[in-house]
Symmetry: C2
Amino acid sequence: MRLEELPTPCLVLDRIVLEQNLEAMRTVARRHGVSLRPHLKTAKSVKVARLAFGDETGPITVSTLAEAEYFGRQGFGDITLAAGITPQKLGRAAALVETGVRLSVVTDDVAVAKSIGSHILGLRALIEIDSGEGRGGVAADSDALLEIGRALGQRLAGVLTHGGHSYACRTADCAADVAEQERRSVTRAADVLRAAGLSCEMVSIGSTPSVTHARALDGVTEVRPGVYMFGDLFQAEIGSCTREDIALTVLASVIGRRESENRILIDAGSLALSKDRSTAATDHDAGFGIVWGIDCEPVYGECRIERAYQEHGVATGDTSLPFEKIPVGTKVRVAPNHACLTAAAYDRYYVVEGGDEVVAIWDRINGW
Amino acid sequence: MRLEELPTPCLVLDRIVLEQNLEAMRTVARRHGVSLRPHLKTAKSVKVARLAFGDETGPITVSTLAEAEYFGRQGFGDITLAAGITPQKLGRAAALVETGVRLSVVTDDVAVAKSIGSHILGLRALIEIDSGEGRGGVAADSDALLEIGRALGQRLAGVLTHGGHSYACRTADCAADVAEQERRSVTRAADVLRAAGLSCEMVSIGSTPSVTHARALDGVTEVRPGVYMFGDLFQAEIGSCTREDIALTVLASVIGRRESENRILIDAGSLALSKDRSTAATDHDAGFGIVWGIDCEPVYGECRIERAYQEHGVATGDTSLPFEKIPVGTKVRVAPNHACLTAAAYDRYYVVEGGDEVVAIWDRINGW
């Protein structure tokens, strides 16, 4: 099957680029002597997860119970669920533990820590530390840290932070500074817990920009980047990758043309691409995505999706579009602003290896 | 089953409110003496579609071939696919026609019209008219109109426009003006086609705001509103409904609390809600959604989701939040900015009737 024959819109994943991205991050982790626990919230695919370990399984991070169950069923035996757990969700978590999965959940709440400490045999938990993002987590030097640690008792697996404020960086130096904030926060928290006689096996940080540019990770045991696998236009803008490193695109069809306005209409709109506008805050606002040719070459110049309706994308060229070569039905590839959100609209990847032949179809797990 | 027992995030649909919204639009259509061909791109559900006709089938509009196939399989025999078709998609369309469905596709392109005119037995097509939105369609008085009409020949079913620029309105009068633009455009196009000896059975307009507020629809045969079924915060802002008319909410759980910042963290982020920010351009910016109590009462004041991460929503109160009543695990209902995009993340509706008992589960068709 060739790309030309696929229904549109659909998701295309280039395995060659993917493998380069995976190897690059393995190299980073090796250089720092830390374990790589990739976050599968972007890929949500067992095939991709296995490739991250050279076609093996390994320790992974997930964002939903549905992902944890999916990867657990398919042989991934060491999983961290990195979004705050609730008491009501502990039943599903415990059921997964009973199948033999070593599952660690995350909390920053004393009452939840007590629930975990009291009744779920085998379930482990990490304490979430706020290293500057200001989303979730306790401060490394807060009273709450020890209180949560003591409530977890034997279930305490370690500490975890996500330096998501690295997304506000525009230079490698800035991302490296965030990595150092992450490192200091979790190693400080680990010291506090250990000094109180509590164990703290895992000392975990993560975000693609901060891990990519980290200077040193002394005291950190593992990193949890995710979007590095695919890359996207936003990551290219903030220096985590280049546009050539983007492994994930949306295959779309031209469904209308307006030569007088130098624009085309494609069948990828806000459902097929998401309404993410993260590149708006960068030097190269990509609208809702950039339109490339079917072979991912920028044959339309900087052709930007300016408006996104539910099933329509309006793309305008920065130079005159070659309308004689763009009849309705022409297939294009759209580079996404934010791979995690774009991918979530699809249940599968059509896999290519640089060319236009579809060599495999890989499934994805969506929902909760 | 009760709302408290559901996994979160999930989609909750209130059948009482839904039925009120459905009846209100039927009343509008009856008043104007036009046929109602609801757009199912929002609901994507056979159960909802049937309720739109008082638990019967009827003529419908869809936005994807996947929707057309889904509704066709379940007894909907008169379907308009209202996004520009490509020659490559005609095979799937024809296969649906062969099952007995009366399918009309849409085009504004001469070459596509020739493809339709030449080889798909039984498939009909509408010519898309631009009534001012500037997305797709030809002008009613353009040469292209007659050229497309002649290329379609016997396959010409009529003309269609979507006055999506009604979304820029903030008053009923403005939306009524858009309805009149829609009406003038399609009736003018129909006149031109008929004067040339071509048939033009369907004269179709649509958008929830314009249909809701239309003054008169002389010459129009049908209307295609969609989001009126569910309503949302944006539609409430532009006067298509009130907040009390919102039938669709996301059930979410509190997963973190920060009393010092008067905010809570919930497990509904940009995947569960979408990154739609349409209310940003209205008088009441709702962030990524408004957090209500589990019974849809505004018990947290105007509690707005200020930041949306993939699986985290950060909601801040405009008055002091009652933290003693909001432990981690508390369930809340989030009113969405844009129902179409929010619903697309889910494969089912948990249906309630005003209360907290789940009386049914209805499926949805996503993808393409």
